[in-house]
């Protein structure tokens, strides 16, 4: 039986060789201390405090901190679905610590599987952070929860915790990118509408005057008196003596709806501008920035449930390097889809004319090693330089694209394959020299491939053949 050691002064609890950081509401929190412990136990009754601690740990950028298991002492039910998704369990007293050990052990073991790359972009960093957390906690689905404190009304706690309330909409963009990268599959849950000027989802909907936008109006039934064709609001027909209705035009008494009169429509009258109308406009006022938007102008967004794919799991373990969104921005390249389309045309052309055209690939064999040593800006500079060198050594009619963040593909049309191979090997030499001079302590390994286009094969098959040798 292991011994429980509690050191309140040091905020330290030790049991079975695991060190727990005990956080008290009296102590402030320096999250940096978390990395020197195996897990965190929050001891306190103050719900706001608990919420704050959990958010601070989970939104940190260091895996040493944000992946640590968190438990709440005294079994306080914090009733906050957001926080509940971010903690790993509760304890009634420290005597029960034995019960949580397997959970702590499991999470720490899983954490050891992970490799982290210092990725190219903020989006990629967020994706990596999210999927590594999901991996350690064995969470398969990233589920949206309706959450009143979220500016979008739906929150994905694991991801959204990284954003201030007003920026939470960024989480939706990041999930879209991740899905495009094949990290997630998704299923539809709901649709939300966001303010076009601040992306906030806290909107108040009102029926307003179509002329001036005021919501201050009165409504009356319109009566049509058949015998004389008089049409007017109900108030034209009422009298002061009794509840009967009398026609102001022909003085006849209204008897029976459908027989001598009916109510074909309603009349709304704006109290701000006196405009009379039948159909309101519906406007949504943003509570965050006070913009009053026509509902047609609101930004509709789908709220989906995201499930980690096999590729996503691998990316969690090996580190998620970059998103194609970042590399698309590199000057001198075309989008991958564009490349495939151009390739299709070239194959089509070769069917009718004689001649040889080629496609080539340059692959970085050790991307995580390279990227983890660089900041995202430097990574971009590296890719830009690579493209620049390639660009200046091929003809301007040839095009360059990224198949992934580690594979560059390019066309070399209307030259013999033999020459294309020679040019490409010269390019690789130049790239190596460039890296040796500019990025001194980094060891970059290249692989490359050239294939001749065959008009009997599809563009997709060409690209498959071209890159199948790369890992």
């Amino acid at each position: 039986m292991a011994e429980l050691k509690v050191n309140r002064e040091e905020s330290l609890v030790e049991f079975a060789g695991f060190k727990f950081l005990l956080i008290n509401s009296e102590d402030g929190l320096n999250v940096d201390r978390v990395q020197f412990h195996n897990a965190v136990i929050i001891d306190g009754n103050d719900r706001a405090f608990i919420r704050q601690i959990v958010r601070r740990i989970r939104s940190d950028n260091q895996p040493d901190i944000y992946l640590k298991p968190i438990f709440i002492l005294k079994g306080i039910n914090i009733n906050d679905p957001f926080v509940n998704k971010l903690v790993d369990g509760t304890l009634f007293s420290l005597d029960q610590i034995e019960l949580i050990i397997p959970e702590v052990e499991r999470i720490l073991t899983k954490t050891k599987d992970l490799h982290f790359t210092n990725s190219l972009s903020f989006e990629a960093q967020m994706i990596e952070k999210t999927i590594s957390f999901m991996y350690t906690c064995e969470i398969q689905d990233l589920e949206p929860i309706p959450y009143i404190y979220s500016s979008n009304n739906y929150s994905y706690p694991i991801l959204s915790v990284n954003f201030r309330q007003r920026d939470e909409h960024i989480a939706l963009d990041i999930l879209e990118i991740a899905e495009r990268e094949g990290i997630f599959d998704s299923t539809y849950i709901d649709r939300i509408y966001l303010c076009p000027s601040c992306q906030g989802g806290h909107l108040t909907y009102r029926e307003v005057c179509p002329k001036c936008g005021s919501s201050n109006s009165t409504t009356e039934d319109i009566i049509h008196h058949f015998p004389c064709a008089y049409v007017g609001p109900l108030s034209d027909f009422t009298n002061e003596i009794d509840d009967q209705l009398d026609c102001p035009k022909c003085n006849k008494r209204l008897r029976h709806i459908g027989v001598d009169y009916d109510k074909p429509s309603v009349l709304h009258e704006c109290k701000a501008c006196d405009h009379k109308f039948q159909d309101f406009n519906v406007k949504a006022k943003c509570l965050a920035c006070t913009t009053d938007n026509l509902v047609e102008q609101l930004k509709g967004k789908e709220i989906r449930k995201y499930s980690l794919t096999k590729k996503g799991e691998l990316a969690a373990i090996n580190g998620f390097v970059s998103t194609s969104k970042d590399i698309e921005e590199i000057i001198g390249t075309v989008k991958f889809e564009t490349f495939v389309t151009m390739l299709k045309y070239e194959i089509e052309r070769l069917r009718q004319t004689e001649g040889a055209s080629n496609i080539c690939a340059v692959h970085l064999s050790n991307p995580s090693q390279i990227y983890s040593k660089m900041g995202s800006e430097v990574q971009k500079v590296l890719l830009k330089d690579l493209v620049k060198v390639i660009r200046s050594n091929i003809r301007s009619s040839d095009i360059i694209s990224f198949q992934s963040s580690s594979t560059i593909i390019l066309s070399m049309n209307e030259i013999p394959t033999r020459i294309a191979k020679r040019i490409l090997s010269e390019i690789i030499d130049m790239l190596k020299r460039l890296i040796a001079t500019t990025f001194k302590d980094i060891d970059v390994e290249f692989e490359y491939e050239v294939i001749k286009l065959d008009y009997k094969l599809s563009p997709q098959l060409h690209i498959q053949q071209l890159t199948k040798a790369f890992g």
């Binding site: 049509h224 058949f226 004389c228 008089y230 609001p233 035009k249 429509s265 009349l267 039948q278 406009n281």
Partner: protein
Amino acid sequence: MFEELLDNYLRFLESLTVEHFIRLFWFYIFFEFMRYFLLEFFVLNLWKLSKLWNKKKYAKAKKEFHFEYPLVSIIIPGKNEGKHLYKLVQSLNEQTYKNTEIIVVDDGSDDDTPTIGRDLEKAGRLDVFIRNEVRGGKASGANTALRFTKGKYIVHLDADCSYDRDAIEKIIIPFYLDKDVAGVGGNVMVRNYDESLVTTLQAIEYYDTISIGRVVTSYLGIYRIISGAFGAFRADALEQVKGWDIGPGLDGDITVKLRKLGYKIKFEQEAVCLTSVPNTVKKLTRQRLRWDKSLIRFRVRKHKDVLIPNQAFSFLNFFAFLENITYNLLLNFKWYFYLGDMLINYRSMLVNIIITNVLLYTLTNFFKFVVYSLYRARTNASYTYFLIYIPCMVFYFGYYLRVVRTIAYIQEFFFKQSYKDPWNPSKTSVHAKKMNL
């Protein structure tokens, strides 16, 4: 055969003396020639002179109108008119006079009119779109629109018509020429004049009989019908008469009601509107039966009080009324009397009489068409296009329209048929009939 006929006719002409001529063609001479040509032509010249005379006054009225710059409410009631709305609104947004509001009432359409109307309203192309789920009829549609207006003047339009760029401006100016004017009728021309023979003949009718006829009656102060396709009213006067009563023929009805209050009604030849007229005989017959029945219904039945001297009596109204009845109702029956007269007394000469009548009418029609062109505001087609059709006018006007009119009068006078007209929903007609409206 033809030679024999011609020979026979020439001999008839040779033997014709002046007294004989008058005896044989009294109908043409006393009614058609005197009333519809000499008198009309005479008045037309007076009008033209007064127009020249009043040029300064007109310019002043126009200036006053632009200085005041009143809001003009354009109301467009109708059923299933959605398909015309976009074009109409476009032509209204092109108007030289800008201070307008457009109010469309969809009276129980069962097509996509509601969607189109709402779209245009959302896009700000029209100001108010009102939808009545259940049809209430033309009058209630116009009255509904009236509830939503804010303007000093109300212009009533039909959705399937289109308007000259300065039409709204031109139709409002008469209110500034004479403060007693409460209603102004616009000049309606036929847009589809070249669609079929029926529409071509109607185009000539609109130019000569309707447009010129209205210039004349307007000058004499006995102008009767403000066309539903294009009419302007003073909002306060409409308020006084509590809007339109149930139709058909409500266009003529409202002017009588305004006249009874002592207001003047004018025709403005230069405010031009193009309309599509019925393109088959069948459709035309249906339209004219409805129009002609309203004469009985509104003149003879509903507003017969203008003939009775009382405090609201006005000589002009009395005259307008009498003129209308004489030259439409009585004339129509007098023609049959003439026909009987000829049949009984001059049966042997009937063929020659008919030939002479046709020639006389055709000659008059040619003359009128050419000479009246000096008095028209503008036409939407070249005159020469119509010249070859003029000989058909005698049959169109003298025979076809006359027969239709006769049928209408008989149906309405003896059977009150207009109350059964599907043009109005039966729920409203039932009440109108009971009240003898």
